[in-house]
């Protein structure tokens, strides 16, 4: 086994284990910390692909912004205790059955699908440096890029409106 393959298996094990522990742990704070580990390992996968800019953006956006927002909300609502009531037993059993069946079906589909014939494309051409990505993003995807900014603006206004305290006796 090559070192890269070993790295991949190591990162994949961390990703899957921490994603599972996110769901399994009772305390929401622990879930958030496991999710941060999961995001960092996915960032490691991006680095393995040599997609440096995406790895950095992923760490900044997910582990930096989104998880801070979630931890802040958990602490705001004082949820850092393990008092969650479980779902009814039949629902939990159904969830486990759905998980197992879905995994088996999807993995079987991809095992039996047509395998790749021949080698992968290794032209060595630069396609994922920041320069190339910026060119593609601001030439071909200019309009969606602007729409993304509009979306973020709308989300910001909506968040402020939603979390504003309502006046009593309205």
């Amino acid at each position: 086994m090559s070192p890269i393959l070993i790295t991949f298996y190591f990162l994949a094990a961390i990703t899957l284990a921490s994603a599972f522990l996110t769901i399994y742990s009772k305390n929401p704070i622990h879930s958030a910390i496991y999710l941060i580990i999961c995001f960092f390992s996915i960032g490691g996968h991006y680095l393995l692909f040599n997609a440096q800019f995406l790895a950095i953006v992923h760490i900044i956006v997910y582990a930096g912004a989104i998880m801070v927002l979630m931890l802040f909300t958990i602490m705001l609502m004082n949820l850092n205790k393990e008092d969650e009531v479980h779902k009814p037993r039949i629902t939990r059993l159904g969830a486990i059955v759905v998980f197992i069946v879905m995994s088996i079906v999807l993995v079987t589909i991809f095992i039996n699908s047509k395998t790749i014939v021949g080698e992968y494309d290794t032209s060595g051409e630069d396609f994922q440096s920041i320069k190339k990505l910026g060119n593609v993003l601001l030439n071909e995807y200019m309009v969606p890029f602007e729409y993304a900014s509009v979306l973020l603006l709308v989300a910001m206004i909506g968040t402020v409106l939603l979390s504003k305290k309502e006046k009593s006796g309205k």
């Binding site: 890269i4 929401p28 999961c38 692909f49 992923h58 995994s103 999807l106 992968y120």
Partner: protein
């Protein structure tokens, strides 16, 4: 530097993404805490992003990574609005148990 997929293979990444996505679905179905449900949705989005980057490398094309940027922007907006909704639900009901949110049930 050669293509990383020569060493790892696209199938391994497909299996990893599929399993990650299934774990996310499991979390949405299994837990009652709305914040954990949100985290599961993030896991599913990340599984899809990972597969996008894998196929972007497979085709040696930057467009897959550009799509991941948009998906990250949408995820950020979704989390901000969703957490604001959760805060207002918590303010009205005193808990964020999703099984309590059944006022619209006939």
């Amino acid at each position: 530097m050669g293509n990383i997929l020569n060493e790892i293979g696209i199938e391994n990444y497909i299996f990893l993404s599929v399993l990650l996505f299934c774990i996310g679905v499991f979390g949405v179905l299994y837990r009652r805490n709305a914040i954990i449900v949100f985290m599961s949705i993030e896991i599913m989005l990340n599984a899809v992003n990972l597969l996008f980057v894998a196929f972007s490398t497979y085709h040696q094309d930057a467009e897959g990574q550009v799509f991941v940027f948009f998906s990250m922007a949408v995820a950020a907006a979704e989390v901000a609005v969703g957490l604001a909704i959760l805060v207002s639900v918590f303010r009205n009901l005193g808990s964020i148990d999703i099984d309590n949110l059944k006022n619209l049930k006939g």
